[in-house]
Symmetry: C2
Subunit: 318 residues, 2 copies
């Protein structure tokens, strides 16, 4: 199937076309550039929300509850579930799939799982591309669910317009994780399982910690803390309300465009480094590289001067 047809079908909401396009942008497909060029003018309309939290805080349940809330508001929703700890793309998500099952037959919801794989720059590379496909396909809200551990997850969280950090009471490790840096990335905090003992203590502690970092100017965003029982849908409308407030605040203050521009710049850098690295790798066994190496061994050239020649040769010939 040709790319324009695929894009058209994806915009009509056909899940198989969306899946196909994501596969094309994830891998090193020969159609990659054509797909990216076709998507560019269609993307940029979705509101991307990142959900991060330690295992056990109820991330998938919360995601599912948010999907329901946005569907009630008539929005088309995309979900990108990222689990780099799984060796199999879909395997670790069986549990999530069950929790997501109420949405599976809803044509207004597209659910995609993604795990670390070998191609190109890994998740940091493929997640933004998948978000771009969901965006171009007409998803108005995209929920990106990541395990809140490790550098690459923090990077993926930084792909979102708004980052939600989930905690649960009685999980000392949650607060520890928060201390370790998660407090710097949250725009909205959710204390889930708020019917359990210790929920108010968790909120107080979180409030205290957020206050400590307070050196905000007037008009700055103060991350709200929302209590939920996602399994029963309690507090979920309040989360949506907090998200919409943050989105409106970002739009008013130029933050939304600034964040998206910074992300796009980072994405371009990543692609450029990958492309240059590949061009150099392509030279294995090439006469040019061998000839340079021979001159080094003969003492007629030093490795730096040789690298200059190599770079000039690669970039000059395009």
């Amino acid at each position: 199937m040709d790319v324009p047809t695929l894009v058209e079908q994806a915009r009509e909401g056909r899940p198989r076309a969306v899946a196909r396009l994501i596969s094309l942008v994830e891998g090193a497909s020969p159609h990659l550039r054509e797909v990216m060029a076709a998507l560019a003018p269609l993307a940029g309309n979705a509101y991307v929300v990142g959900l991060t939290g330690s295992p056990g805080v109820g991330k998938s349940t919360s995601t599912s509850a948010l999907v329901s809330a946005y569907r009630r508001a008539g929005k088309r929703v995309g979900v990108l579930a990222v689990d780099p700890s799984s060796p199999f793309s879909g395997g670790a998500l069986l549990g999530d799939r069950i929790r997501m099952s109420e949405h599976v037959c809803d044509p207004g919801v597209y659910i995609r799982s993604m795990a670390t794989r070998g191609h190109l720059g890994g998740l940091a590379w493929s997640a933004p591309q998948a978000i771009r496909v969901l965006d171009a396909a007409g998803c108005e809200v995209i929920l990106v669910e990541t395990v809140g551990v490790g550098q690459s997850e923090v990077e993926i969280a930084s792909q979102a317009d708004t980052s939600v950090v989930l905690l649960a009471p009685g999980m000392g490790d949650g607060i520890q994780a928060a201390k370790a840096g998660i407090l710097e990335i949250g725009d909205v905090y959710v204390v889930n399982k708020a019917d359990r003992d210790g929920a108010d203590a968790t909120v107080r502690e979180l409030n205290h910690m957020l206050g400590l970092g307070e050196s905000r100017g007037p008009g700055a965003w103060r991350p709200p803390i929302v209590k939920t029982v996602a399994a029963r849908g309690e507090g979920v409308d309040e989360v949506v309300e907090a998200l919409e407030k943050h989105r409106a605040w970002m739009a008013e203050n130029g933050v939304l465009t600034a964040r998206r521009t910074a992300r796009a710049a980072h994405e371009v850098e990543t692609i450029a480094v990958t492309a240059l690295r590949e061009r150099i790798a392509d030279l294995h066994g090439d006469r040019r590289l061998d000839a340079l190496a021979e001159r080094i061994v003969a003492g007629r050239l030093d490795p730096y001067a040789a690298a200059d020649e190599l770079v000039a040769g690669i970039t000059g010939s395009g």
Copy 2:
């Protein structure tokens, strides 16, 4: 002090000049290119021997014994001791320093320790440069001692003209390590502590394993196995003999030049990739990158086309 004077003093065997030059090539010194260019015509004469083995096989003692043997033959010797497991460059080598102490006052021996550090490409990057300095400084034999674990050590071992793999009897893990891949890199095998029980069994087992991989053509190199008691200097002359045989075989068969050419090619690649990556990193906050990112956010450009423009801009303007 200017670079030509430093190089001259290093060639006269002054240890401080050698140390200074190694520091210059290890780091991102502004004199790096000048130093590399000055060294190029002087290097290429040293015979580089890699010594690899698990902790406990007597690597430093063996290195020290080899230094003594080469000194008796009137050779100038350089030692590069690499311990990436140490957070401090010199710290882990205190023990080695004591064992090496008999050579410390010998002006014909230069000993340098090196650990993984943050700059540029790490050890894989800085070890070849340090070898180049020792080579240009007139060391006729350079012994590179590495812990035989991990990818970067195998890479450093591949910098050698001849790789010596050390084992000791009664160390099941030694043979296990051998099974795991060390058998592919040895040109000469040494069973040290050969006065201990089990030495002959270790030799037999090693012989068997080397035989298993035997599909060598006529004239191929058959790695010899030498028994030593390095602490008493026993068997060390036989190791030197095996090394000289391997060197002569490589020279006769064009293997020496082929190995050195492949190494130089790899080194040029590493430097080229690092240089390109730095050029892109330099663009942070640059108007060109921002302008591309803004066009992506506006949907007027896709990230791939932007990366192409970025690469063209960097490489075109040099």
